[in-house]
């Protein structure tokens, strides 16, 4: 073992492994060093200078986020001069920053605002020079306001290194440095896949979700419109963060209730759609698996950013893509057909709102004509968790005190398989459970497949079902997908057995629990806690396999016929198209 490093921070002894930064060492002894550009998910860019500390024997101030502790270092993290320098850093940033907190998407949630408040800045002694740069809302999923950018570089690291999309970059230099879509074009014309991870990591309001709440209020107000909502798996374990609940608390019942209070006529659950997706997708998988010469691996498609990414950069994988629509799209299509029919509603008057952890879902609902399979747009508008939290607050609902309610079961009942869709590995696990049933006629003795779980970027494993080995891979964070696809291509080109039969991909690190539309402050610790909330929901459920969902069974009996049947194909499946015009 390498020698540990001994040092002191504000007089407190600390022992760390070599390479640990002063910032992390300070955390270890509960010393708080203010930061602005550093994000726990990302490498230090050392851009802001907030985290400066002093080391005995050196006249320079050092940046704690990027300076490793050295043997015998005596570190001081605060004295009047350090505080003064930090104030100046904030003042300099504010002198370039528009004074628009009151109308900003990050009001009360902004890392810069919080620092300014903590440091009690009452006036800025520097002349204000706010750059005059236009807003870019062209993606209709995220909004880029380069004036509010403090050039921390987080979004660029996320978009380039973690997502491997390269849609964002800094342009120009020095004082004029600005954030922009790569190539200085509209973000919608860039390769951006709308995952929103940039917005989830931005410390300020320079990148936020596109807000659709007003449109939803307008429809809720209209007595002629029958408003229905659906709630994605990952939302239930994250929305509580906006109301002070411990991270990962499952608030499904309260959220249903809040939606009804806000005026929704019916409340569905996207988890129902997830169960249905598994019915279709597991049938698709088993069909391919048992038919000689079928294209394998099958690749999951419930993540719109992943679909977009594949169409733009990996179009040779189109034949591998499951034709299943995502759960939100399935629920939308059924709300305007099956549900409308059952309830005697005019589908033209049914307005479907989906609440998603995701900014890309705003794009998915209009990504192709097939998203209007009911004869109308199947989902009318998609909100993020953050937008729903705001709407609940606007409504004056005392969320913590609201009594839990049930969903409207026709499109609302769900199994444990549906709920784990919200975390990386969940779709694979759910699909394996039902594939097991389809191949053997019985449920697996143990429904939990541990190898699909956890936060490793690429998870591989295999399981034996009815004497057949099924090899799978799970990837999250688009950058991690490349490894998996490379292996598939190598085997394909060599004409050998594919390395996997089934691949799950989610664009966001951690899967949808870490989605770009979720409450702020995401770290791996937090992703794991939200995921744990979903696994608990799964464990507590009456049914754990999608095919056990009695309302899904009823749907097939009363309306759809059978999985992959004619009606299912028309309403629940889609196709993909190569889009080479987008280059990264």
């Amino acid at each position: 073992m390498t020698d540990m490093i001994q040092a002191t921070i504000n007089g407190l002894p600390v022992e760390v492994a070599p390479g640990v930064t002063i910032l992390d060492a300070a955390r270890q002894v509960s010393v708080h060093i203010p930061t602005l550009c550093k994000h726990p998910d990302l490498d230090a860019t050392a851009a802001c200078g907030m985290c400066i500390v002093r080391v005995a024997g050196s006249s320079k101030m050092l940046r704690a986020c990027c300076t490793p502790v050295e043997q015998e270092m005596e570190i001081t993290t605060e004295d009047p001069e350090i505080i003064q320098v930090r104030r100046t850093v904030i003042e300099m940033i504010l002198s370039k920053h528009p004074n628009e907190c009151l109308t900003c998407g990050r009001n009360q949630n902004c890392e810069l605002q919080t620092l300014a408040a903590d440091f009690g800045l009452r006036e800025i002694c520097l002349d204000s020079v706010v750059p005059d740069l236009p807003l870019d809302a062209t993606t209709k999923a995220i909004v880029l306001d380069p004036r509010k950018c403090i050039t921390c570089g987080r979004c660029i690291q996320v978009c380039q290194q973690i997502q491997n999309v390269w849609a964002l970059s800094f342009l120009q230099r020095g004082f004029d440095t600005r954030i922009a879509a790569a190539g200085d074009i509209n973000l919608a014309d860039s390769p951006c896949v709308r995952c929103g991870q940039c917005s989830a990591h931005c410390p300020t309001g320079a990148i936020v979700e596109y807000d659709n709440t007003q449109e939803v209020w307008d429809n809720l107000l209209d007595p002629d419109v029958y408003c229905v909502a659906q709630l994605a798996p990952a939302v239930r374990v994250a929305i509580g963060e906006a109301f002070g609940f411990p991270i990962g608390t499952n608030l499904t019942g309260k959220t249903y209730a809040a939606l009804r209070r806000m005026g929704f006529d019916a409340v569905f659950d996207t988890n129902f759609g997830a169960d249905l997706t598994i019915m279709e997708e597991a049938h698709e998988f088993v069909k391919r698996f048992t038919t000689e010469g079928s294209v394998l691996p099958l690749i999951t498609t419930c993540c719109p950013s992943w679909v977009d990414f594949m169409e733009k950069f990996h179009d040779d994988m189109i034949p591998h893509f499951s034709s299943c629509k995502s759960p939100q799209a399935m629920v939308g299509a059924l709300a305007k057909t099956y549900y409308a029919e059952k309830m005697g509603l005019d589908p033209a008057k049914v307005y479907v709102v989906s609440v998603m952890p995701c900014t890309a879902k705003k794009f998915e609902i209009i990504r192709s004509k097939e998203m209007a399979s009911s004869g109308f747009w199947d989902v009318d508008v998609s909100l993020t968790t953050r937008e729903l939290a705001r709407m609940i607050k606007q409504s004056g609902i005392n969320f913590p005190a609201v009594k839990e309610e049930q969903p409207d079961h026709l499109l609302g009942a769900y199994t444990g398989a549906g709920t784990i869709f919200g975390t990386t590995g969940g779709v694979m696990e759910a699909a394996l459970r039902t594939s097991y049933f389809l191949l053997t006629g019985e449920n697996p003795a143990r429904v939990e497949f541990q190898k699909t779980r956890g936060l490793d970027g690429v998870k591989e494993g295999s399981t034996v079902i009815a004497g057949h080995e099924i090899r799978f891979a799970v990837a999250h964070g688009l950058g991690n997908v490349e490894t998996v696809l490379r292996r598939v291509r190598e085997a394909r080109d060599a004409g050998t057995e594919p390395p996997y039969h089934f691949i799950e991909v989610m664009a966001c690190p951690g899967g949808c629990v870490g989605g770009g539309g979720q409450p702020y402050g995401v770290t791996d610790k937090l992703r794991a806690k939200r995921a744990a909330g979903l696994y608990q929901d799964d464990q507590a459920g009456l049914w754990r396999c999608a095919h056990e969902n009695p309302y899904v069974q009823k749907l097939y009996e009363d309306f759809l016929g059978e999985p992959l049947g004619e009606k299912s194909e028309q309403l629940l499946h889609t196709s993909y198209h190569s889009r080479p015009e987008y280059r990264r």
Partner: protein
């Protein structure tokens, strides 16, 4: 993927610099030399061919003041001064263009209509001397054949509008 004219133009530059350290800047210089500025399409094509993300290319392009992203004049007249063209009379063509437009190589006319520049071999030595006007390549150029390309838009050769 079908290759466009730009892709072909860019290919020569990309090939020269691909996989060499610090080569992106040199390749971008190459583009600017070729076009008088760096057209978006050429930048995209370069990125594709050199396997460099467009994001990186624009970071570099906007970092240095040297690079131009917009055409400096509506018509960019590039006189090739590669060996073949030089030997076949390019210097005289350059003098002629310079005189008629009233600007030196590297300059743009006050009305923004013309930009004159010198380029190195554009790879069509068999057609020397070569002059390009924007995307258009003029082959075996003579003083006479160059003349009409140096006129203000709308003007005819005898100078009447």
């Amino acid at each position: 993927m079908t290759l466009t004219k730009t892709d072909e133009d860019v290919a020569a530059i990309a090939k020269r610099w691909k996989n060499k350290r610090g080569s992106l800047i040199m390749a971008l210089h190459g583009l600017q030399d070729r076009y008088g500025y760096v057209p978006r399409e050429a930048a995209m094509s370069l990125g594709e061919q050199m396997d460099v993300p467009l994001a990186r290319i624009y970071e570099v392009l906007t970092f240095y003041n040297y690079f131009r992203l917009k055409s400096p004049g509506k018509k960019v007249v590039s006189v090739c001064m590669g060996t073949a063209c030089y030997l076949k009379g390019a210097p005289k063509l350059l003098d002629q263009a310079s005189e008629e437009l009233g600007i030196r190589p590297g300059e743009t006319t006050a009305d923004g209509e013309f930009h004159l520049q010198v380029v190195r071999c554009v790879g069509c030595c068999g057609l020397a001397p070569v002059v390009t006007v924007n995307e258009k390549l003029l082959a075996k150029v003579t003083g006479e054949s160059l003349e009409p390309h140096l006129l203000q838009p709308g003007a005819t050769e005898d100078g009447k509008a």
